[in-house]
C-alpha cells in the first residue's frame, strides 16, 4: 500500500519535472497576483505590512486552484486515470497520493517564495517566519480539499471556474487561521492559537478529504 502511494507521488513529481512550463506558470501567477496589490492600494509600508498576510494567503488560494483544475484532468485525457482506478490498489491512496504530490509540487514552492514577497510588503522577520510556518501547515489543506473539487469537476465544461466556486468557500477556515496567524504576530498576540487551529483543520482534512475525493473520482469516471 505504501509502495503504491509512493509510486503515485513519484510519478506525478516526474511528470511535473518534465513539464516545467506548467509548474512555472502557477508560481509566477502567485508572484504576479501578490505584486498587483501594492500597485492597487498604494506603496505605504505600514499598510502593506498590515495586509500582507491576507494578500499572500488569498493569492496562495488562487494559485492552488489554478493548478488543481489539472490535477486529474491530464490523466483522465490519456486514459491512465481509468487504468489506475481499475488496479486493485485502493482509490483512497490514489487520491491521497495525488493531493500530496500536488502539495509537494505547488505548495512547497509558494512557501519558499513567500519570504521574498513578505520583504516586499515590509513584513518584520518574525512575521515572515510565521507566514512561512502558516503556509507550511495550511497549503496541504488547499491541496487536499482541492483534490475533492478537482475530482468532482473532472471533465466538465468550464471546470476551472466551477472548481473555484465549489472550493473557495471551503477554504475559508484555512484563510482565516493562516492570515490570522500573521496578523496576531504583528499585533504582538502570538500566533500559537491560530497555528494550532490551522493544524487541527489540516489534520481533519487529511482524514476526510481523500475518502471524499476517491468517492468523487468513482462518480466522475463511471
Amino acid at each position: 500500500m505504501l509502495r503504491f502511494l509512493i509510486a503515485v507521488i513519484r510519478r506525478d513529481l516526474r511528470l511535473a519535472a518534465r513539464r516545467k512550463g506548467d509548474w512555472m506558470t502557477s508560481q509566477f501567477f502567485f508572484v504576479m497576483v501578490v505584486s498587483m496589490f501594492p500597485l492597487g492600494i498604494g506603496p505605504d509600508p505600514v499598510m502593506l505590512s498590515k495586509v500582507a498576510g491576507g494578500v499572500l494567503w488569498v493569492a496562495a488560494l488562487l494559485a492552488s486552484l489554478l493548478s488543481l483544475s489539472r490535477l486529474f484532468a491530464d490523466d483522465h485525457h490519456d486514459g491512465s486515470l481509468e487504468q489506475m482506478l481499475l488496479s486493485p490498489n485502493p482509490t483512497v491512496l490514489l487520491a491521497l497520493g495525488k493531493a500530496l504530490a500536488h502539495w509537494l509540487i505547488y505548495g512547497i514552492p509558494l512557501l519558499l517564495i513567500a519570504p521574498v514577497l513578505g520583504v516586499q510588503f515590509s513584513l518584520p522577520a518574525d512575521a515572515i517566519g510565521v507566514l512561512m510556518l502558516s503556509l507550511l501547515i495550511g497549503t496541504p489543506v488547499l491541496s487536499l480539499l482541492g483534490s475533492v473539487g478537482a475530482a468532482l469537476t473532472l471533465g466538465l465544461r468550464g471546470g476551472g471556474v466551477l472548481l473555484t466556486l465549489l472550493i473557495l468557500p471551503l477554504y475559508v477556515p484555512a484563510l482565516i487561521f493562516g492570515a490570522g496567524a500573521v496578523d496576531a504576530t504583528l499585533s504582538g498576540l502570538g500566533a500559537e492559537a491560530n497555528l494550532s487551529l490551522l493544524a487541527a483543520f489540516m489534520v481533519m482534512t487529511l482524514l476526510v478529504s481523500p475518502w471524499v475525493a476517491a468517492a468523487a473520482l468513482k462518480v466522475s469516471i463511471e
Binding site: 482565516i176 476526510v208 468523487a216
Partner: protein, 246 residues
C-alpha cells in the same frame, strides 16, 4: 409503517403523495403568513431600543433559520441517497437547494436593511453575516455543479458529496469566523434561558417561522414533482399523466 415509507421512496408513488400534500402546506403557509404579518405590524409593540426598524426580524429570523435548516435537510437527503442509492433522495436535495439559496439571500438582504438603522452600516464583516454569506456561496456552488453536469446520475452523486463535505465544514467555518470577528448581537432566542423579547413578538416570529417552513416544503414539493416528471419521462405512468392533462 416501514412498508409505507418504502412505498413512497418510489418516485411514481411519491409524485401522487406530493401532489396531495402541496395544497395543505401551501394554504397553511399562506394563512400563517397572514397571521404572522398581522401580529408583526399591528399587534407587536414598538421596540423600546430599536424603534420600528426591528420589525424586519419577522422576516429576517425565519429566513436565516430556514437557510440553515434547509442545508441540514439537504445534507440528510444526500447522506441517505449515497448510503441507499435512492433516486428520490437526490431529487429532494435538488428540489430544496433553490429554496435554501433564496432564504439565504433573503436573510442577507433583510439583515442589511436591519443593520443600517441599528449599526449604521449596510454590511459589517461580523461572524454571523459572514457565515451566512458563505452558506449562500455553498448553495451557489452546489447548484452550479448540478447545472454543469448533464448526466443526472453523476450530478446527483457529485452534488451529494459536495453537500456533505460542506455540511462538515459549516460548523468549522462558523467558529472560525466567530473567533475572527464578532459584532452581531447575540442570539435573542436561547434554548437554555428565557427569551429576552416580548411574548407577542416571539409569537409573531414563530408564526412566521412556521409560515416559512411550510412554504419551503410546498415549494420543494412542487419542484420535486417537476424533477420526477423530467427524469421519468420515458415511463408509461408519466406518459399517462401528460396525456390526461393534454
Amino acid at each position: 409503517m416501514s412498508i409505507a415509507i418504502f412505498k413512497y421512496a418510489a418516485p411514481m408513488n411519491f409524485y401522487g403523495l406530493a401532489g396531495r400534500l402541496i395544497p395543505w402546506f401551501a394554504w397553511s403557509s399562506g394563512i400563517l403568513t397572514a397571521i404572522g404579518l398581522y401580529l408583526a405590524f399591528f399587534v407587536a409593540p414598538t421596540d423600546f431600543q430599536q424603534g420600528e426598524a426591528y420589525r424586519v426580524i419577522f422576516l429576517h429570523v425565519p429566513a436565516a433559520w430556514m437557510s440553515m435548516f434547509i442545508y441540514m435537510v439537504m445534507a440528510f437527503w444526500s447522506a441517505v441517497g449515497l448510503a441507499w442509492n435512492t433516486r428520490l433522495s437526490f431529487m429532494m436535495s435538488r428540489a430544496l437547494a433553490p429554496t435554501g439559496a433564496v432564504f439565504a439571500f433573503l436573510s442577507l438582504w433583510t439583515g442589511a436593511l436591519w443593520g443600517k438603522p441599528m449599526w449604521g452600516a449596510w454590511w459589517v464583516w461580523d461572524a454571523r453575516l459572514t457565515s451566512s454569506l458563505i452558506l449562500f456561496f455553498l448553495y451557489v456552488g452546489i447548484m452550479s455543479l448540478w447545472s454543469a453536469i448533464d448526466d443526472p446520475r453523476r450530478g446527483d452523486k457529485a452534488g451529494a458529496l459536495l453537500t456533505l463535505i460542506g455540511a462538515i465544514n459549516v460548523p468549522i467555518i462558523y467558529f472560525s469566523v466567530k473567533w475572527w470577528n464578532t459584532l452581531h448581537q447575540g442570539s435573542t432566542i436561547n434554548m437554555t434561558k428565557a427569551p429576552s423579547m416580548a411574548a407577542i413578538m416571539l409569537a409573531g416570529m414563530l408564526v412566521m417561522v412556521f409560515a416559512a417552513w411550510f412554504y419551503a416544503i410546498a415549494a420543494s414539493l412542487v419542484r420535486v414533482r417537476g424533477i420526477i416528471l423530467e427524469r421519468e419521462r420515458q415511463t408509461e405512468w408519466v406518459a399517462e399523466i401528460l396525456e390526461g392533462k393534454a
